[in-house]
């Protein structure tokens, strides 16, 4: 399984000279399964770059949406494969009692917010609510769970062979709780992340920023580290960077994360901040920077 980060930023695209190294695009992770099947985790602005990278391939892919906040879907209408008639795209996402997944996405891909409507997309696109039980895409088993964020939000676990990827980009598991004291099954997202090969997890705030953002659905470093430690993730990538955090800020944040991870007994090399276009090959442990953003 290959994993490539195409958008690591939270909330809003943040391009500029101060976000070149970690990237300014919002959430999108490309996953190539062992049989070559392609998944896109979320469709933030980073999915535009993924689409350009694909060229005319593949003809079939799955987009797995954690939730429908704009920073996770705003790239959909700019994803080149949706404009190719030969492409078949399956979009998975959380169910809501309010409206179907298609109708909720269509609120964005419709006038006046978009020049095209969902029904006008040339590709063969279908929308599916994620089942409560495990299902398969190619050789991979996909599992979801509702996680603590604002509105219906899922985390994903993708198991392919002996390796697994857990993706919980927007997550506040410590809201009203001490993660060091809760039993495992009372921790939001725990079962998804348990002993996973690679955990991509919300790490938006510093501990000092968090008190002004309690309940916004994102984690301070303290809780991201506690979650990673409790779940026994082999490698953790802190994701969904705050748009106000510059590269220099994130460099310092990275040092702090590694130091605190080491203080918890972890290997500093096993935790890092997400950077756009960095690629991971599972189960190979060491990350490989392919093309600096």
């Amino acid at each position: 399984m290959k994993v490539k980060l195409w958008g690591t930023r939270g909330s809003i695209p943040s391009p500029g000279p101060e976000t070149i190294r970690y990237g300014g695009n919002t959430s999108c992770v490309g996953v190539t399964l062992s049989d070559g099947s392609l998944l896109a985790l979320d469709a933030g602005s980073g999915i535009r770059s993924l689409g350009l990278d694909l060229g005319d391939e593949p003809t079939r892919l799955h987009i797995l949406l954690t939730h429908l906040h704009l920073d996770h879907i705003l790239g959909l209408a700019f994803f080149a494969p949706v404009f190719r008639p030969q492409t078949e795209i399956v979009i998975w996402g959380p169910a809501s009692p309010e409206a179907s997944l298609r109708d909720r996405i269509a609120r964005y891909i419709s006038a006046p917010l978009s020049p095209v409507e969902v029904r006008e997309l040339p590709c063969d696109v279908s929308f599916r609510h994620c089942p409560e039980t495990e299902w398969e895409i190619g050789p991979a088993r996909i599992r979801t769970a509702s996680v603590a964020h604002r509105g219906p939000t899922l985390g994903y676990r993708i198991d392919d062979g002996d390796s697994s990827l857990t993706y919980i980009p927007d997550h506040e598991p410590g809201l009203g709780a001490d993660l060091d004291r809760l039993e495992d099954d009372w921790i939001s997202g725990f079962a998804l992340a348990r002993e996973t090969s690679l955990l991509i997890h919300d790490g938006q705030y510093t501990d000092s920023e968090y008190p002004n953002h309690i309940g916004w659905g994102h984690s301070p470093l303290r809780d991201a580290l506690a979650f990673a430690r409790r779940t026994g993730a082999e490698r953790t990538v802190l994701f969904h960077h705050d748009p106000m955090h510059s590269d220099d800020f994130l460099d310092r944040f990275s040092v702090e994360a590694k130091e605190r991870w080491a203080a918890l007994g972890g290997d500093p090399a096993a935790i890092e901040l997400a950077a756009e276009r960095v690629e991971y090959e599972l189960p190979v442990r060491a990350p490989r920077a392919v093309t600096p953003a």
Partner: protein, 137 residues
Amino acid sequence: MTQRPLELILARNLMSALSTPAFLVDEGGVLVFYNEAAGMMLGKRFEELGTVGADEWGALFGPFDDSGEPIPYDDLPLVSAVRDGRPAHAEYVIHSSDGAAHAVEVSAFPILTAHGSQGGIAIFWPTQANGDGTASA
């Protein structure tokens, strides 16, 4: 291992912050959490007791009606709320671990989600008549 339903996790986190006694059961009626205030009322913290099966937890506080008769488990507000999918309310007398009687009002409501019922919450209030909830009889 599976995660508890998120709605139960969030309910527990909220209840942990309340100073009002509150109880949480899952969709099977198992008592899966009560908060510190409820623990003070019962004389035993949840961490000491752990989960308690359906049909068993009612005996923790032995609710009695005005005439001193035990209230059947099936008639408890929390049980009917989960069973019927509707809120329920009642007044009764409970006994804490030190034997003191407390008159309380109990409001219970089901936790209904897109995936069906996930359990229920009951909140205990001292009756207005007695102020501190101490029963007169």
